[in-house]
Symmetry: C2
Subunit: 349 residues, 2 copies
């Protein structure tokens, strides 16, 4: 797809809305000059932001609504009472075909609930998974599920492997991504039933992905595989543990550079190189958690990010839309079903 | 206990055995001058190491055996066939009361299997847990289980909370440790049945610990609590993810300091401060994973550590023995049982 691309934005989601949403769109527009933006939220406030961005204004359409979803609202309440909210209207734009994708920095549970309800699941995928990419020693990898499902069975994990594979291909441009299942050891007998069962399926004939095997927690940052598949409980803990460790290290590093005049002096000379390090680990660069498995492209931005982070989330959504993520998933699901069918016949003999 | 302390050592476990085991004992002896060491392994090789350590030699007794457990042996095989192995003889020294604790850098699964078999479980504790401490923004915390149990129910997690609490008090000297349950969110309804059930028990009357509540992955490095309790699957992934992330950061930092002459020059001035950072994050400092719940003190050292790391593992075992870890656990288990009893009566009304 090289032509028109329409991006629906929940202009009221996140701590610094609508400012960072509008400014983020302006940054994303530089990368995607053909993009058009639909903003949902308080018109007056959105217009005030747009007034300072003359290049973006002609490619922006504002849909006014006074309602928005706060962070403390439960998904079920948001779903029932939030039909006119900025979040829901932005999702509906994708459901009706008006927009190609939606991005929100609002309430994660509400966004997931509304997206599932309004966009429906992709036939053949039972549950949505949250995916995101992150820095590794080899470049960038993808991990899912990061928290949509506390419990996952083998079949869910196999489907996540398929979704992660297509996501890696369409967003990171990796031709044949390697997929690993997160476990407590590399040996076949390690782990619980769900990971062992999924491994059997992924090693078998007609497997939808290039399966590396089991990986362990330290393989995540090593970049041993392009796609890390796990249940939402483990994935959420792993993601946040990695974030916490990176912050601890940064904190210790800051302390090291300020605890003597000699170190401060050294810092001046190393400044430029350390700025590169900071950039490499910058969480804004990896902003944009994607809800995979849903019949529509929906990306969640971190709630406290700035315009640069929000622009990256828009970038993820736009890459998925432009590179035909949904069509590719449909294809893969059909192939998976076809591969599974003769297996079932054999089993019945 | 201020008097005699006897430490049994598997002199043949780990990549650099017996050298690092003997040298590690010599380092530990400086901290614990009253300690006596029982070495199990190939006498000739152990004696060759001891010959270079005149201060240690008079406090060392060598028990010869040719047999040892390799890293690729399954626990069940080690248990049946390894009765005369250096690992098993060292454990037996604790079982017979000859030694106060045992340390091995050998095969983890075999060590756990043998320790459970020869030392038995503490009455009232159903399963052993692997615990270790790690650096945080506030100092040091403890996490368990790190991999002994892939599946854990609420009762297991409550028992781990108790074990972690006593471990934190006896080894880190924290008077009233705060205990957190690792979960995907802080709210009561988050997570699966095991964590929610354990939280109800730990919030209730007669709870054995000072319960903080649920914590998330990023709270581990923040040091939000003194004791992090989780199942062995999640704990193993979290620990290894943290290790991998720290290594990634160190790798990026090294690259930053070598990618320009200016940065290299800066490094010279910051060297001393960065050495402190390295020391703070040094994995040898946190070496020594403890098998809690077993009727005896058994510490597993990392297989590839050096003498400094091994000495730290000995230190953990010795602290536990000297501060009466086992007696304190027995007391707590009795209190927990007493507190649970009236509850059951109430429930029966």
């Amino acid at each position: 797809m090289t032509g028109r691309i329409v991006i629906a934005l929940d202009a009221m989601g996140g701590e610094h809305a609508p400012e960072i949403v509008v400014k983020g769109a302006a940054i994303a527009q530089q990368r995607f000059p053909q993009a058009e933006f639909l903003f949902y939220g308080v018109e007056e406030r959105i217009r005030a932001c747009l007034a300072k961005l003359p290049a973006l204004a002609p490619r922006a359409i504002v849909h006014h609504t006074d309602e928005f979803i706060t962070d403390d609202v439960k998904p079920s309440v948001a779903l029932r009472g939030g039909r006119r909210s900025s979040m829901r209207l932005a999702i509906d734009a994708v459901a009706s075909g008006e927009a190609d994708c939606v991005v929100s920095a609002g309430n994660t549970g509400a966004l997931m609930g509304m997206a599932k309800f309004a966009l429906k699941m992709i036939p053949g995928i039972d549950r949505p998974a949250i995916a995101s990419f992150f820095p590794t020693q080899r470049g960038e990898s993808v991990m899912l599920d990061l928290g949509a499902n506390v419990h996952c069975d083998s079949e869910n994990l196999v489907q996540f492997a398929l979704l992660g594979d297509v996501f890696s291909r369409t967003v990171l441009g990796i031709a044949e991504p390697s997929v690993g299942l997160l476990n407590v050891g590399a040996e076949e007998q390690k782990g619980h039933d769900a990971v062992r069962g999924a491994a059997v399926r992924l090693r078998g004939p007609g497997a939808p992905v290039h399966f590396h095997g089991f990986i362990e927690g330290d393989d995540i940052a090593k970049g041993t595989v392009d796609v890390v598949v796990t249940d939402g409980f483990t994935g959420n803990v792993a993601l946040k543990t990695a974030e916490g460790t990176a912050r601890l290290f940064a904190e210790f590093l800051r302390a090291a550079f300020t605890n003597s005049w000699s170190a401060r002096f050294g810092y001046l000379f190393a400044y430029r190189s350390l700025a590169k390090l900071r950039k490499r680990m910058d969480p804004r660069r990896y902003n944009g958690a994607v809800f995979l498995g849903i019949q529509g492209i929906c990306v969640k931005s971190h709630g406290s990010t700035d315009e640069l982070g929000f622009a990256n989330a828009i970038g993820v959504a736009t890459d998925m839309a432009m590179n035909g993520f949904l069509d590719k998933v449909h294809e893969e699901v059909l192939q998976l079903a076809a591969a599974a069918a003769p297996d079932k016949t054999t089993a019945a003999l």
